[in-house]
Each structure stands twice: as structure tokens, then as C-alpha cells.
Symmetry: C2
Subunit: 132 residues, 2 copies
């Protein structure tokens, strides 16, 4: 059941942890700087497996490659419609609010919520004031 150790998976994990919602290709390019022999297929394979195992999050956006998030905890994702940057909500986000929404969703649809990938669009603070 447990996966066999592999240096590549370790590197992918460590690299993802240092990046900000990268695509698989971005992870690949970053790793290649230090380990030019790694293959894109391996990066995809490991990211996919980690996402399936719930270790990390895979985020899908229209017309764009998937992005990965090492933080699999419940949080929201917000992308700025001007600069495209992606923000996470953090621990300061009231968790009762999340639970309240879960309950309202279940009341409305009958679905008992297990996980949330919630994406918002808006304009970030930097873009609203001066420049992006």
C-alpha cells in the first residue's frame, strides 16, 4: 500500500513546498536547474498521485494548466482578475464560517460536504491601489 521511496518524489515534494501554486511544467523547470535528468512525465505522475492521495491539492482553471498546492488543508483560493496571482486564505479565516457554509450546502443540495475547492475572482489590494 505504501509507496516505495524515490528521490524524485522527495525532490518534487520539496520543490512544490517552496513555490507558489505552480503548474506541473513550472515545478519541472525549477527542479531541472539542479536535477537536469528528471523527466516531465515523472513530475506529472508524482503530482497526480500525491493529489489522488490527498497529500496536495490540484486546482483546475478554465483555459489554463492545472496548478498544485502543497497545503491540502481546508482553505479558499482567490485569483486576481487583473494580475492573475493566486492567494490563499490562511488560519485567520473563521472556520465556523466554513462549517456554516457546509451545513447550508447540505441543507440545499443534500450533499454532505467532504472537501472544498473554492475559487473566487476579484481584484487584489496591489492592483486596486497603484499598479500590479
Amino acid at each position: 500500500m505504501a509507496r516505495r521511496y524515490s528521490a524524485q518524489k522527495q525532490i518534487i515534494e520539496d520543490t512544490l513546498a517552496k513555490m507558489d501554486h505552480p503548474t506541473a511544467a513550472e515545478v519541472y523547470e525549477e527542479i531541472r536547474k539542479a536535477y537536469p535528468q528528471i523527466s516531465l512525465g515523472t513530475v506529472y505522475r508524482n503530482l497526480g498521485l500525491m493529489a489522488d492521495d490527498g497529500e496536495i491539492l490540484r486546482l483546475s482553471f478554465p483555459d489554463a494548466p492545472d496548478r498544485f498546492d502543497p497545503n491540502a488543508h481546508e482553505h479558499y483560493h482567490v485569483s486576481c482578475s487583473r494580475c492573475g496571482r493566486i492567494f490563499d486564505t490562511d488560519r485567520t479565516f473563521p472556520s465556523e464560517l466554513v462549517r456554516q457554509v457546509d451545513r447550508a450546502v447540505e441543507a440545499c443540495t443534500g450533499v454532505r460536504v467532504e472537501s472544498r475547492v473554492m475559487m473566487f475572482r476579484g481584484v487584489c489590494a496591489a492592483c486596486r491601489s497603484g499598479r500590479a
Copy 2:
């Protein structure tokens, strides 16, 4: 600025309205029953344009084709992790809750929310009781 009238766009719009979160291919197949001469490219083109204009919603899921929703109003999407069906929240969903979340998101990330595509996973009522 206004788009020119086209019978195809009209059909696509009408067909989408009658379906439940279909993919572009599903819309195409449905239309083909009555209008076999329509082309897949036209379906994609029109759905894409409508989504860009905010007329309809385009939903992206990992490892699956995009799905389209004729209802562009603020609502949540919930997909059942067992049967894969997609549910919408409806007007009974408390809108103050949505606004509360928007405010909390802005407090947390600095992003002023303009639109929400919120997707949950869980197990629907049908799957929880008997069979799907």
C-alpha cells in the same frame, strides 16, 4: 459590439438551458440529433464566447472536460464523489452567508471578491442511502 444573430448560437443557448451541466461534447451530441450539420467547433466557439461575456458559467474540474452552466448567478457547485453528479445550490441558500464569506476573504487576502466559482465534493443523499 453586439454579436450578429446566428441560428446556431440560439440553438446552443436553448439546448444548454435544458441540460444539466453538460460538457461541450454533450451539448454537441444533443444538438446533432435535430441539427446534424452543426460542427463541434461552433459549439466550442459559442460556449467559450458566452462564458467570456458572463452569460454562462464555465466550470473546470481536474482530469475532466469543462462543463457549462446556463445559470451565471452566484451559486455553489457540489459534485458527488461517488456518482459524479453535479448539484447547484439554489435561491434558498442564504445570501448573507455568501456576503459574509466575501468579507472574510477580503479581510484575509486583500482581494475584493467579484465572482465565485465554489466547488465542493461530498456524497449526495441518493448515494448515502441506497444506491446511486
